[in-house]
């Protein structure tokens, strides 16, 4: 059986064009003046354009009906790969053979216009995604039912809540029915109910025998949906194996990268107005290093280089299987929070008591300012939790079948003893 997707030695080089003021595009004036000066210029010793290989020597095949996950750290080339497969950008080297109609979900709601109604946007978006008008009409009712927006079909989309917007956008895209489906982290938007719906639909699509390439950081979802995963790092394929194995390799590489000091890390995302320089995880109120005691207080100290206005620090604690355990956000305040007059580049989070089960955990950090992502680091720090006494009672001795303790009280029969 011929492969649905065959990628041969794919490479993509970005030429970072330097405009005069460091801008990324040139003006006609610059081009013309370069042209005029050309005969007089001495041969350049070094090209002032910095090439950057987003992808290099990538080759693999996907058979019809396979569901393949693409994982890797930020900047590894996953989105570039999808862009090339979606024909949005062309490769610098190599070639790709695709058999069948390709549908891309790189973003939800591409082409939606806020002034148009839901109904009009379904037609517009469907057409942009490649559906013919007849196809859209045929699936119109299903799309509306999936999105649950029957009552609002004739209202301009700018009046929709963000949840409705995302549901409608995904509903159109979900009914594409191409032979090959490329999905890029689309499942990261929306609330939990919606994400489950998306997962369900993708599972259904996979079950229908379509080929799916799925880029995501949502490792548990990947492990459910995919048979196989390809691991990317710095633009190259590092592993191509059954999903559990590849995910394990990826988690191990995250740990390795965490060995590098946070301030030296380059695999970040975000605009960069504020960057995390160091993350310290300490035991106790006063902070001594070492494994954290379950049931005791602990301290997470985030050192940032610059305090962007309205800075918000969000960190996830993730267990050793890549499953998120909890998420803490500095914007959700309470009376107990304290604004320290002596600190202007340090955010401290004290968790007391720490109710996590013994084991190894990882901290992923995101910094936001003015509603925009400024910095994102996976595995900024790792820590161990050891057994202890939480809320005045011992924790179960078994490991692996529980994740955290909940404060509780028993009311027991008098004679129990």
């Amino acid at each position: 059986m011929t492969a649905a997707i065959r990628i041969e030695k794919l490479g993509k080089r970005y030429q970072v064009k330097q405009g005069e003021e460091g801008s990324s595009y040139r003006t006609l004036r610059e081009s013309l003046s370069d042209w005029v000066r050309a005969p007089f210029r001495r041969p350049r010793k070094k090209n002032n354009q910095a090439p950057f290989w987003a992808l290099q020597d990538v080759s693999f095949e996907v058979q019809p009906g396979e569901v393949v996950g693409i994982i890797g750290h930020n900047g590894a080339g996953k989105s570039t790969l999808l862009k090339i497969l979606s024909r949005i950008t062309k490769p610098t080297q190599g070639r790709v053979h695709l058999k069948g109609r390709v549908g891309s979900l790189l973003e939800v709601g591409t082409g939606f216009h806020p002034e148009l109604t839901g109904r009009e946007n379904i037609y517009l978006n469907g057409s942009i995604l490649g559906m013919s008008r007849k196809e859209i009409e045929r699936r119109f009712d299903e799309i509306v039912a999936f999105a649950e927006v029957e009552k609002f079909l004739d209202t301009p989309v700018k009046r929709y809540s963000s949840g409705m917007y995302v549901r409608l956008a995904f509903a159109v895209a979900a009914h594409l029915e191409p032979e090959i489906l490329l999905v890029d982290e689309v499942l990261a938007v929306g609330d939990v109910a919606f994400q489950n719906k998306c997962l369900g639909k993708m599972r259904q699509v996979g079950g229908e025998g379509r080929t799916i390439l799925f880029v995501s950081h949502n490792l548990p979802a990947l492990q459910v949906l995919c048979d196989r995963a390809v691991l990317f790092a710095r633009g190259r394929v590092v592993a191509d194996a059954p999903v559990a194995e590849t995910v394990g390799m990826y988690l191990r590489s995250v740990e390795e990268r965490a060995q590098v000091e946070v301030s030296q890390r380059t695999d970040r995302a975000g605009a960069g107005r504020s960057r995390l320089m160091r993350l310290e995880v300490h035991n106790g109120e006063d902070g001594c290093s070492g494994p954290l005691q379950m049931g005791g207080p602990c301290r997470f100290t985030f050192h940032v280089d610059r305090l962007a206005p309205g800075l918000m620090c969000v960190f996830n604690i993730v267990d050793e299987f890549g499953q998120g355990v909890t998420k803490i956000n500095s914007n959700y305040r309470s009376q107990e929070d304290f604004m320290d007059p002596e600190s202007n580049s340090r955010l401290v989070c004290i968790i007391d008591p720490l109710l996590l089960a013994p084991g190894r955990y990882r901290v992923d950090v995101g910094l936001y300012a003015s509603r925009e992502l400024q910095d994102q680091i996976e595995g900024a720090a790792f820590f161990e939790v050891i057994r202890g006494v939480a809320c005045g009672r011992e924790a179960p001795r078994s490991r692996g079948d529980w994740k955290f303790v909940l404060p509780h009280r028993w009311i027991l029969p008098h004679d129990l003893g």
Partner: protein, 299 residues
């Protein structure tokens, strides 16, 4: 793998994968390769995406008229107001001739295709830059964008044209059989608009100064197309006649007006302009095709 992960419905894993769903046609094979310089228009692909071009144009028109007070009247107001201004300044004060046609009608009939051309050039030239999100997220033949932009301008033209036909009886001018030639002339104007609009759209992506150049070009263009507002005396020197020939819009606008209002059509100049229109169209599309692969990277 521990069982705490999201629930795995083991039933699904044991079901054999279904055969790929049968589609309407044999699955097409697509090959993606590095760009290779000059590429011709992919007419078949454009035809396949014809509905998208229609939807994009429809979107532009709908959005323009939603939430406006006067709606479709804007399509007529622009040439109508200019007609008034021209009548006062060019006809009354400057005494420019319009032959044997009343000046207001003369001006309106000339402004009509010119307004279309100016709108097509401006909107077309900025169309690709304005569709940055589309270009970086989804694939479709990029020519659809400037084509749809020019298509949207056609709608305005059609409305204003209808008004022109209704206005003519007021000056006691009636359409003749020559009216049937108007669509043909319009088609030639459309070719010039498409060619230049597409070229400007492509240039605008890599050289952002074109955003400022376009309105200036359009304004200059109107003065460089004297047939919009006056009837040439016919006694120009060879140099001036040559300059007028260099601008295909000169004879096309004159021919359009003659077709609608009844008058002499100079077929040899229309012929020359037709050839220029075809060449401009091809040049614009070819340049666009050559650089379109870099849009998503540079935009």
């Amino acid at each position: 793998m521990s069982g705490e992960l999201t629930v795995v419905e083991s039933k699904e894993e044991t079901l054999p994968r279904a055969e790929p769903a049968v589609s309407d046609a044999v699955p097409a094979e697509t090959v993606i390769e590095p760009p290779c310089g000059w590429q011709f228009l992919n007419v078949r692909e454009l035809w396949r995406f014809r509905e998208l071009i229609f939807f994009l144009a429809w979107r532009d028109v709908k959005v323009r008229y939603k939430q406006t007070l006067l709606g479709a009247a804007w399509a007529v107001l622009q040439p109508a107001l200019m007609m008034v201004v021209f009548t006062i300044f060019f006809s009354r004060m400057a005494g420019l001739s319009s032959g044997d046609v009343p000046y207001p009608l003369f001006a309106f009939a000339g402004l009509l295709p010119w307004t279309f051309f100016a709108t097509a050039l401006t909107n077309g030239g900025n169309s690709v830059i304005g569709s940055e999100r589309l270009i970086t997220k989804i694939y479709f033949p990029r020519l659809a964008i400037p084509f749809a932009s020019v298509g949207a301008a056609t709608v305005d033209f059609a409305i204003a044209f209808a008004i022109l036909l209704l206005l003519m009886p007021f000056w006691d001018v009636w359409p003749t059989a020559k009216l049937l030639l108007a669509p043909v002339i319009f088609f030639l104007i459309l070719l010039v608009a498409l060619g230049m609009g597409t070229l400007l759209a492509a240039l605008n992506v890599n050289y952002r100064d074109f955003r400022y150049v376009i309105p200036f070009l359009v304004q200059l263009g109107m003065f460089a197309t004297p047939t919009v507002y006056m009837q040439p005396r016919g006694d120009e020197t060879d140099l001036r006649a040559l300059l007028m020939m260099a601008n295909p819009m000169t004879s096309l606008i004159s021919a359009f007006r003659s077709a609608v209002l009844g008058g002499h059509i100079s077929w040899d100049s229309v012929g020359i302009s037709a050839v220029m229109a075809a060449l401009l169209f091809l040049a614009g599309c070819l340049y666009f095709r050559r650089v379109e692969d870099s849009f998503a990277d540079n935009i």
